[in-house]
């Protein structure tokens, strides 16, 4: 064998794959054209460091603050309540560790935290980190973590939640909508429960997934902290925001120059902030129509597959789910194999979360919902988004039908 020949083979184009049918918007969404346009000047043109004093810096500062105003408006907050971060994960970390550190310092109740059993890893792992001795590096004396159960559709058991609320609770974190199966929580009721059973405890809600379709400003107005992420909304990756209501304090977990009113240091990603704002605005402008449009496409996909393939179950009813989520369980099928066959047919979907190696992990969400392990292994998540249209649904139905038939043999 000659290395030369092999190199020719290696650089030959990969045989054509069918056109992409992207149904993994919950993982990430393509950049909206209006967002790309809004961000473009902030590379080589309006490139200043927003923390400086000269006109180049001031121009960047102005853009940053305009973005902040817009983000605040979209999220039902005041500009001073918006903290820009590097994404939804950092926002969750700041919400949990930052709030605990500040509360402990101020002598407020902060011996325990409560979260739901279906939180995203960014919330769950931040909560777990807060229970360990190493939390001290963030200024947090280790706390007790209590996890509130959910029902078979992923809906939080409010009574069980209240049982976990005592006067040692410093923070309660419940996501506005679940990223895996799409379940929408009744955050207003969570806020009410906390006000009754642990008044004074702060409430955080992870709105990363929900912000695409729900009126977060309205639904989360009682929450003390809420986190969003740019790239789930057709905005850029690498930027997110944490809303910290005026009545609540967070200590920083990223230390440095004191930006974001000492809540999050680091040179501002002005382009990112502008992009996040543009994405939130685009979502707000079309929320009702998009929810209806995407919801109808999702219902068509779900109905076709449930009717066309015996042994197919929906995990959450449309009424309780985000409009873009279609989470199905296929009997007698391994999710890893189905995803490979779908990928070969151009269809991008996913299941659960990936671990550091890229392998799928057992879903803690399905486990919390009481889905038996065998069924959980046949679970696939399809999530629609702003760039999804009817041809995607047709191709997906055809690809899934073929693939499942092949695997069931």
């Amino acid at each position: 064998m000659t290395p030369g020949r092999l190199r020719r083979i290696m650089t030959a184009p990969v045989p054509g794959r069918p056109p992409t049918v992207y149904l993994d918007h919950a993982a990430t969404s393509p950049l909206r054209p209006e967002v790309a346009e809004a961000m473009a000047p902030f590379g080589a043109e309006r490139f200043g460091n927003s923390s400086g004093a000269h006109h180049v810096a001031r121009d960047a500062r102005r853009a940053l603050e305009e973005a902040r105003d817009l983000v605040a408006e979209c999220l039902g907050a005041s500009p001073g309540e918006v903290v820009f971060t590097s994404g939804g994960t950092e926002a969750a970390n700041l919400a949990i560790l930052g709030t605990l550190a500040a509360r402990q310092e101020a002598g407020l109740a902060a011996g325990a935290i409560v979260c739901s059993a279906v939180e995203h890893a960014a919330v769950l792992e931040s909560c777990r980190a807060a229970t360990r001795a190493t939390a001290r590096i963030a200024g947090v004396a280790p706390v007790e973590l209590r996890v509130a159960p959910v029902d078979g559709q992923g809906i939080l058991d409010l009574e069980a939640l209240e049982d976990l609320l005592r006067d040692d609770v410093g923070l309660v974190s419940v996501m506005l909508a679940n990223n895996e199966v799409g379940t929408v929580q009744l955050i207003g009721e969570v806020v009410g429960a906390v006000a009754r059973a642990a008044p004074g405890a702060a409430v955080h809600t992870d709105a990363v997934q929900a912000a695409s379709y729900l009126n977060v400003a309205e639904l989360a107005r009682g929450a003390d902290l809420l986190s969003v992420s740019g790239h789930k909304l057709g905005g850029p990756k690498g930027v997110g925001a944490l809303v910290v209501r005026e009545r609540v304090r967070v200590d920083p977990i990223v230390h440095g120059g004191g930006q974001e009113r000492d809540r999050r240091s680091g040179t501002h990603d002005v382009a990112g902030a502008v992009g996040l704002a543009a994405a939130l605005r685009a979502v707000a402008a079309s929320r009702r129509e998009e929810s209806a449009r995407v919801g109808a496409l999702r219902d068509r996909l779900a109905a076709a597959l449930v009717a066309g393939l015996p042994g197919t179950v929906r995990s959450v009813d449309s009424a309780r789910s985000l409009p873009g989520h279609c989470h199905l369980r296929f009997d007698g099928v391994e999710q890893e194999e189905l995803l490979v066959l779908l990928d070969e047919r151009g269809v991008c979907a996913s299941a659960g979360s990936a671990c550091a190696s890229g392998a799928l992990e057992r879903s803690h969400v399905l486990a919390a919902m009481g889905v038996p392990a065998g069924q959980a292994r046949g679970a696939v998540r399809f999530t629609l988004g702003h760039s999804t249209g009817p041809p995607d649904i047709e191709r997906a139905v055809s690809a899934v039908t073929d693939a499942v038939a092949l695997l069931r043999g």
Partner: protein, 352 residues
Amino acid sequence: MSGGVDSSVAAALLVEQGHEVVGATLKLWGGPSDSGCCSVADVEDARRVADHLGIVHHVFNLTEDFAAAVVDPYVASHGEGRTPNPCIECNRHIKFDRLLGRAVRLGHDALATGHHARVAALAGGRYRLRRGVDGPKDQSYVLSMLGQDQLARLLMPVGEITKSKVRSLAAALGLRTAAKPDSQDVCFIHGAEGRQGFLSRRLALHGGTVVEGRTGSTVGTVDAVELVTVGQRRGMGHGDDGKRRYVVAVDVARRRVVVGGDDAVRTGEVTLEPGSLTWVDGPMADGGRAIAQVSAHGRPAGCTLEHGPGATVVHFDERQRLVAPGQTVALYDADEPDSVAGAGIAALGRAR
């Protein structure tokens, strides 16, 4: 693709031969962030080699199957006084069962690995499993459980070349794994904790007495009978004659380790666990001659098979070191010593 140089070059050779190749790395052990072999770093190496070769790469999570088929039985076996070979069980249940099944379901014609062994296709649609050309690197021992159905769908391109050729090919191709050292340990046991640490966290360990086999007298104690292996010398001290003692038998139930001198730890035969015998291409008859190998790179020994009423017994031509219960006895064809005839597992029982 384990992330090692052998599977990297195996993939490259198959691409060169014009096959449509897809790379798969198995996640078998560890929580979301693991350490040791088959770690995240190894997966990344495999992925980058796949990128370099222009092939699709998947990572498959088979941790549950692996725990059930390899790790749990490994632990339980030690509890019974056996010394299993988990890599063999992984080959038996995971690689050439689960993974092979998956490859077929996904529409592939064959599974390929970086093992140093060869599959030979004979006239009439039969297959042979042969040692790799590089003797000291031969891995046919850990593949000795395979049968026709699996061999028909198995490619092992690296078995046709030497290990040093593998490395030089990898270097010539610019593969990042060219100089990567081979992993030596069982993939689910980290260097830091060792077999002892691993087992002690999963198995109730019991102290026991050490008894001199010939005289029956107690000559010492051990902290954990479950961690003692037949043939072991470490910790057994010396006999009255000043010669080293070896473990001749382990009786977990009676918390006893029997020791003896060099002569006592030799045997003329090994009984195979009933039901553990597998054949590559049809069973060998009673009285048939074969060549036995009882460890990954052990010296092959001439033997005769006896199919007894309860079990098959392998009679060695010359006395050998005792084979620890749970170890695989690979049988090679007496006329074609490179060709695997079958394999069985040494039974728990008395040594002769």
